[in-house]
């Protein structure tokens, strides 16, 4: 949808888009900086004023792909996808129930779900590490998937409840009259109409898991180490900080999320505007 005044002069259109342009530059510049640093020759990285013109080198990417960092990315993706799917699946059912059925203390339950998000990770890190040890899941993908799912579910429940609330009840009642049971009404009528919300919840859950550092730092050791933790292990050593390596590693980490976001961008735009568009 284009809200820019059509048929005006190029200058007027430029003024219209100017704020958006400024915001985009502010947000995109760090990404650009990291991309630049990842291909800078090592000798130029710490130069001041910074250099923007140089012949790119690929050593840092070679280093990333030869280091154990790749395993960490694999771990990150497994954990992010696993926890996103688990939390969004549970959140979809929870949000539907909260949207459609009246029951006692519903508001309290909604607030309690939201309050999960207010919990700082550092507060629960010791109990979590004990709990994980008790059930013999230390340093496993499963443990991280479950813990991230708990942390991310509140966001998804609230997002998806908003989507379900917007579906007119009559759409579902018509299906009930047609002879469908509650599960079929959910699966055939309600769920297809909230796909944009589901896509948004999946992307956000994945991003939150991929970026998480503290819990992963404490709860993983070798076999389930995630990318943000590996970043510190591999590139910050007693020999100093390898800025070029960290930048290349960061770019590699951005790739899977960006790819997924591009695939579902149509739904994402609707999702982030809470179904207000089109």
């Amino acid at each position: 949808m284009n809200y820019a005044p059509a048929g005006r002069s190029a200058f007027q259109r430029f003024i219209w888009y100017l704020p958006a342009l400024v915001i985009t530059i502010i947000f995109a510049f760090p990404l650009y900086w990291i991309l630049l640093t990842s291909v800078k020759p090592r000798a130029l990285i710490q130069d001041y004023p910074p250099r923007f013109r140089f012949s790119p080198v690929w050593d840092n990417y070679r280093l990333v792909f030869e280091s154990p960092y790749l395993d960490a990315i694999r771990n990150s993706v497994i954990i992010a996808v696993g926890s996103a799917v688990l939390s969004v699946a549970l959140a979809t059912l929870t949000a539907y129930g909260l949207s459609r059925y009246a029951f006692r203390s519903k508001d309290n339950l909604l607030f309690w779900i939201l309050s999960l998000r207010m919990l700082p990770a550092i507060a629960v890190i010791i109990p979590y590490s004990r709990m994980v040890r008790w059930v013999n899941l230390e340093d496993t993908h499963l443990a991280m998937i479950m813990i991230y799912a708990v942390f991310n579910i509140s966001f998804s429940v609230w997002l998806l409840k908003g989507f379900f609330d917007e579906i007119p009840r009559e759409l579902e009642e018509a299906a009930i009259m047609d002879g469908y049971g509650p599960w079929a009404v959910f699966g055939r009528v309600a769920l297809p109409l909230v796909i944009p919300g589901v896509a948004t919840a999946l992307v956000f859950s994945m991003i939150l898991s991929l970026n998480e550092f503290l819990l992963a730092f404490v709860l993983t050791r070798t076999s389930a180490v995630t990318a943000p933790v590996a970043l510190t292990n591999v590139f910050i050593t007693t020999l100093g900080v390898n800025y070029g390596g960290i930048s290349a590693a960061a770019m590699v980490l951005v790739a899977p999320v960006a790819l997924f976001a591009i695939l579902v961008r149509r739904h994402l735009i609707r999702g982030m505007s809470f179904g207000q568009l089109g």
Binding site: L171, E173, I176, M177, D178, G179, Y180, P192
Partner: protein, 359 residues
């Protein structure tokens, strides 16, 4: 195809609103029954109770001899068309028509045959592959009606299905709907606040207000013998003139009229309300008549709706009369004095205290 019986049916919402109060109603097999009432009168709640989308607080819903209380709506074999568009944005017309058939796990050849039949009946064969956004309001409502009728339900419920359509389309849809209903012979309950819809389609009209049934009769009886003041004032356009007055010496004295009570069971001094339909007023100096002055003349094609101010009566009297000859002489003018009386035998008389009909 079935007979619907409601016994002592009530619905009180959790907030304490008594939407439906002690309703007893029988809708016979193949009958077209219209539930008519102002908005908020509980007519939609009544329909939802029959459908099973609401559970009654008390009372019994029966379809033939089968008690429906507690039966899941989808298993009652009742179809319903809702007030608002209930088409799914991601499905074509054909998929909508097939939707209830898939719930019953019909074979694809049977589905195909039934879709073709219903589409032909509703003149929608060309639109089977259209998406909802490509349909006009009338086409969308036809698709919704087709979706309800395709599985040949025992009972067909419609909740103000024409509210969102424009006037000419409503007229067309009324004819289509009535035709289909009598052809299929399906028991139908149609809820509306529109009298024209009610009177053109109904075999029987149920008037509701504040959760109760006020009269349940055929269209003619409803118009000619309204059972109480609410029905008298609600049915008819323009509405019946209602003049509050008293009985004195065998006459109803109201609005300057002195109308003979005939053999009505009334006593001297009793307060009554005299009801006169606008088309039952006639010009003429009679002893029973009253005089007034014309205040408004509304031309309506070959008719005039004339408002007449009477002495000592705040509301003007409404008179419906054929338009004068086109040469312009004899047109009604504002300010013109008129003397009128009530056509013989056309007086409705209601009890002034209870509002129920006397004659």
């Amino acid at each position: 195809m079935a007979t619907l019986t409601l016994t002592d049916l009530s619905l009180t919402y959790p907030g304490g609103v008594r939407a439906v109060r002690d309703i007893d109603l029988v809708v016979a097999d193949a009958e077209f029954c219209v539930v008519l009432g102002p908005s908020g009168c509980g007519k939609s709640s009544l329909l939802r109770l029959i459908a099973g989308l609401e559970q009654p607080t008390s009372g019994i819903v029966r379809l033939d001899d089968q008690v429906m209380n507690g039966v899941y709506p989808g298993e009652r074999d009742i179809a319903m068309v809702f007030q608002h568009n209930t088409l799914y944005p991601n499905r074509t017309v054909r998929e909508h028509l097939e939707f209830p058939l898939r719930a019953r796990k019909l074979s694809s050849s049977e589905r195909y045959r039934r879709v073709a039949d219903v589409a032909a009946m509703l003149h929608m064969t060309d639109l089977l592959d259209a998406q909802p956004y490509q349909l006009s309001g009338g086409q969308a409502q036809r698709a919704a009606i087709g979706r309800a009728l395709i599985r040949q339900p025992r009972l067909f419920l419609l909740d103000e299905p024409m509210t969102s359509l424009d006037a000419s389309l409503r007229f067309e849809m009324r004819t289509t709907l009535k035709g289909i209903q009598s052809e299929l012979g399906v028991t139908t309950i149609y809820v509306t606040h529109d009298q024209d819809e009610a009177f053109t389609m109904a075999d029987r009209i149920v008037i509701m207000n504040e959760g109760s049934v006020l009269q349940d009769a055929g269209p003619e009886e409803l118009y000619e013998r309204p059972k109480n003041l609410f029905v008298a004032g609600f049915v008819g356009s323009p509405a019946m003139n209602l003049l509050r007055g008293a009985v004195y010496g065998g006459q109803v004295i109201a609005g300057g009229f002195g109308l003979p009570t005939g053999d009505a069971p009334v006593i001297d001094g009793q307060t009554v309300v005299a009801g006169v339909r606008p088309e039952d007023l006639v010009i003429g100096h009679a002893t029973s008549g009253s005089t007034g002055r014309i205040v408004v003349v509304e031309p309506q094609g070959d008719e005039r709706i004339v408002s007449i101010a009477l002495n000592d009566v705040p509301e003007p009297l409404i008179w419906k009369v054929r338009a004068p000859k086109p040469n312009g002489s004899g047109e009604y003018r504002i300010g013109q004095p008129v003397a009128m009386t009530v056509r013989h035998g056309c007086l409705h008389l209601f009890n002034g205290a209870t509002g129920s009909r006397i004659i």
